[in-house]
């Protein structure tokens, strides 16, 4: 199984500040999302995903990660985007969450790691109408681009 080296995603030129948080920037469709790096255990290439019958549609199945069986979910389906197309750039990000344990999420592409200070993050107002807003903690601005910061616990929460 191929695992990306940290240097592959540009960690070496990241400056850390005291109140700043590092995010892994991923692409999903046309949008960019940020995942807090402290929850990221690993990033792996797509491999055979074993389907598990009779579970929610966004749960794609399970993979073998160094001898452990890890559930994998599709961020796209969860966020009601068109289903994933597996390309060369597709990756599975392995997250370690306190509440839900280890989970893999499928993303279109992993771009880079950015450091965002508190002043670069804008909180978003909560909107009942749009489901997707619930998954977003805030929006970060970096080099003129917008990065939606994912609320991972909300993402991992079961759909009702």
């Amino acid at each position: 199984m191929d695992e990306l080296k940290v240097s592959d995603i540009g960690l070496y030129n990241v400056k850390t500040q005291d109140d700043a948080i590092q995010y892994i920037v991923i692409k999903l469709g046309d949008e960019q999302y940020g995942i807090d790096i402290k929850y990221v255990d690993n990033i792996v290439r797509v491999q055979h995903i074993t389907r598990v019958p009779k579970v929610a549609d966004y749960l794609k199945g399970v993979i073998n990660l160094r001898g452990e069986v890890i559930p994998v979910m599709s961020l796209r389906i969860k966020m009601e985007l068109p289903a994933d197309e597996m390309t060369k750039a597709t990756r599975i990000i392995i997250l370690k969450l306190e509440q839900h344990g280890t989970i893999g999420v499928i993303v279109d592409e992993v771009k880079e790691v950015v450091t965002l200070g508190q002043e670069e993050i804008e909180k978003v107002s909560y909107d009942d109408k749009e489901e997707r807003v619930n998954f977003i903690l805030g929006v970060g601005k970096h080099n003129g681009e917008l990065i939606s910061l994912l609320d991972l616990n909300a993402v991992a929460m079961e759909n009702k």
Binding site: T50, R51, V52, P53, K54, L59, G67, E68, V69, G101
Partner: protein, 682 residues
């Protein structure tokens, strides 16, 4: 002193001692005179006191100290065991357990002094102690002067010595036996003994010496030694001579009767077994103790305490080794077998991993004794609380199970036993009316059956009142009256496992709150086990708990359904059948097959797993016949891949919603295959 690093050992050992005290005090109640039991209790209490003291747990130490006092009185025979005393002792054990729990949680023993218990203990000590102790003590003191003093009587005479003695006797010489006691403060025992030797030799000829002369020279004796001598002098002369040696406490001696010696030889041997002071007793006593102890629990265990986590790591490594081995096997078969040597090596590796797996499994196995040993005490308490006479008989306590299973099985078994005691056994009056023995019997039998361990809880009570259960179920709205009429006796009995069901007419704090049997069932099922009931009205019921020996690695049948690979545990599989589509019949709109006289429902796995079967409807069906309890079912699969040893991995709680999948495993090529739970399908 920093004692934290010893805390764990302290807790472990304290729990062991508590467990042993619990069982020993119970057997003390049965046989109040058993010296071995009393000694065992005394030892456990004493070491517990010592440990508590070292760790600085003063309250615990105080309580054990007073318990020890009581045990010591019992041991001296100055106090009699009665039911009251046993009750108090059990309360003390509960208090100690409380201390231990507190220590485990907070590293502090808590503030409960248990003064009341200590007072109760002392109350036992005082009246009994004053009346009986002095008399007994003087009796005991007298014993030490009389009983063992003439140790020369116990000397065994060999044949050659016998000959010498007889000749001496016939020559008209006197034969005496002597026992010499050296003062306790004596520093050079050997030297004193030598002087005694010399003094005696001036007057007489030493024939036998116990211990042997060589041992005495090497100072290998306690404070006394015995001699048998032949002499022409008077016994008093000899005694006088020896008494002149300084630092000698006393010397006793008398004429030794040779004629009797031969006959006596046997009788002394016999006497040695019964006489308390005889040296042979020391050997026969532990031998007896050994006989009584169940095998598998020697007095001293040669063990090393290992953190369960370390074992888990070892287990994981073995699992990975097996996965690696499996991938080698699959590589060799896909690459068309690169020569015989390669295959041989793989077979060798397979042997090694299987053995390694077995031994690691064995390390994780513990006897269920640690769980069931608390039950006799529980039944005793229940007997008092429910005012029913009952007795618990256990067998197979040495049966071993995986550590994780043993840790979990205690509560369900306790529920079943309480159930048997409360609901199963009738009241004493009713039992007498029915002509049953007044004392109800509850049995707990454990034994290994193939890859399973079976634990049976049986009682000779009333059995399950099927009509009563049915009426209750209808009343509670669990089933409708119509349903009730159509249900078999077995199905009705199974209603007992329904959540929120309890037939107890009065609610007691023993059982009958409606939680219990459903919890028992789900707990046992979470351990991949099963529970069933057999009952005969008026004769009693049997609850059968079946548990897998191991949870981690199983033999499985690998199959494919719609191109996906699945594993089915070999445990439940009866046979594999090739069935032509024409043999499939419909009964009540369900597909069944008639297999050698029994009608078996078919379950199409492709349908259950929401996937297209890769086979056309005209093809023969491959059917795996599985058994759950008494029920059979046929699972229709696409293709057989073969048998394989698989390592069970959890799917994790995130994905655990799927009932028919009990776990996953990693195949030789690194792919994940799901494990089908045949029990959930039936």
């Amino acid at each position: 002193m920093d004692v934290n690093q010893y805390l764990e050992i302290f807790l472990d050992e304290t729990k062991e001692h508590l467990e042993s005290l619990n069982t020993q005090i119970l057997s003390l109640e049965q046989e109040p005179e058993n010296v071995d039991t009393i000694n065992e209790i005394f030892r456990a209490a004493h070491s517990m006191k010592g440990m508590a003291g070292t760790m600085g747990y003063k309250r615990m130490q105080a309580l054990t100290h007073d318990m020890e006092n009581v045990f010591s009185e019992i041991r001296n025979g100055s106090m009699k065991v009665n039911s009251n005393l046993i009750d108090t002792l059990f309360q003390c054990l509960d208090a100690l357990e409380e201390y231990t729990d507190n220590i485990q949680q907070t590293a502090d023993e808590g503030t409960n002094d248990n003064q009341q218990l200590i007072n109760m203990l002392n109350a036992f000590l005082k009246p009994g102690g004053k009346e009986q102790a002095p008399a007994k003590e003087s009796g005991a003191a007298a014993k030490t002067e009389d009983g063992p003093a003439e140790k020369w009587m116990d000397i065994k005479i060999g044949e050659s010595e016998q000959l010498v003695l007889s000749t001496a006797k016939s020559q008209g010489k006197n034969i005496y036996g002597l026992t010499v006691y050296v003062q306790e403060s004596c520093l050079l025992k050997a030297a004193r003994a030598f002087l005694v030797y010399k003094a005696v030799e001036e007057k007489a000829e030493i024939i036998v010496c116990n211990p042997p002369a060589q041992d005495i020279e090497d100072e290998k004796f306690d404070l006394d030694f015995s001699l048998i001598v032949v002499s022409e002098c008077d016994i008093e002369d000899i005694l006088q001579a020896t008494r002149s040696v300084s630092e000698i406490e006393k010397v006793v001696g008398a004429a030794y009767e040779v004629e009797e010696a031969v006959a006596e030889k046997q009788s002394t041997e016999r006497a040695a077994e019964t006489k308390p002071a005889a040296p042979a007793q020391a050997q026969s006593a532990p031998a007896k103790a050994n006989e009584k102890k169940t095998p598998g629990k020697p007095v001293v265990n040669r063990t090393v305490r290992v953190d369960i986590e370390k074992l888990d790591v070892l287990m994981n490594l073995v699992s990975e080794l097996i996965i690696a081995k499996n991938s080698l096997v699959s590589a060799s078969s896909t690459e068309g077998g690169t020569g015989r040597g390669f295959n041989e090596q793989i077979e060798y590796l397979e042997g090694v991993t299987t053995n390694l797996h077995e031994s690691v499994m064995k390390v994780r196995m513990v006897p269920i004794e640690s769980v069931v040993s608390k039950f006799p005490r529980m039944i005793r308490d229940l007997s008092k609380k429910l005012d029913k006479k009952m007795e618990l008989y256990m067998s197979g306590e040495e049966t071993e199970l995986d550590r994780t299973v043993v840790d979990e099985i205690g509560d369900p078994l306790m529920h079943l036993l309480r159930n048997a005691a409360d609901h199963g056994l009738e009241s004493t009056e009713l039992r007498l009316q029915r002509g049953k023995p007044e004392v109800g019997s509850i049995f707990l039998d454990a034994y290994q059956d193939g890859n399973n361990v079976v634990i049976e809880v049986r009682d000779d009570g009333n059995g399950i009142d099927v009509e009563g259960v049915k009426n209750k179920a209808i009343e509670r709205g669990v089933i409708t009256p119509e349903q009730g009429d159509n249900m078999s006796e077995k199905d009705i009995i199974n209603l007992l496992f329904h959540a929120g069901f309890s037939t107890a007419k009065k609610i007691s704090d023993v059982s009958g709150r409606g939680v219990g049997l459903d919890v028992v069932k789900s707990k046992i099922e979470s351990l991949s086990g099963e529970v069933e009931v057999k009952s005969r009205l008026g004769e009693g019921s049997t609850w059968i708990v079946r548990l897998p020996l191991t949870l981690a690695i199983i033999q499985a049948l690998m199959v494919t359904v719609g191109g996906e690979k699945y594993a089915i545990s070999l445990g439940g599989i009866q046979t594999l059948e090739d069935i032509s589509p024409s043999e499939v019949k419909l009964v009540q709109n369900r597909e069944v097959i008639n297999l050698r006289g029994s009608v078996i429902p078919l379950i199409r796995l492709s349908k259950e797993l929401d996937i297209e079967s890769s086979k056309s409807p005209e093809d023969n069906l491959i059917v795996v016949i599985v058994k759950k309890g008494e029920k059979l079912a046929g699972l229709v699969i696409d293709e057989l891949m073969g048998q394989q040893e698989i390592v069970i991995k959890s799917l994790g709680k995130y994905i655990s919603k799927c009932k028919i999948i009990s776990g996953a495993t990693i195949l030789g090529d690194g792919e994940v295959a799901l494990i089908l739970d045949a029990n959930a399908l039936i």
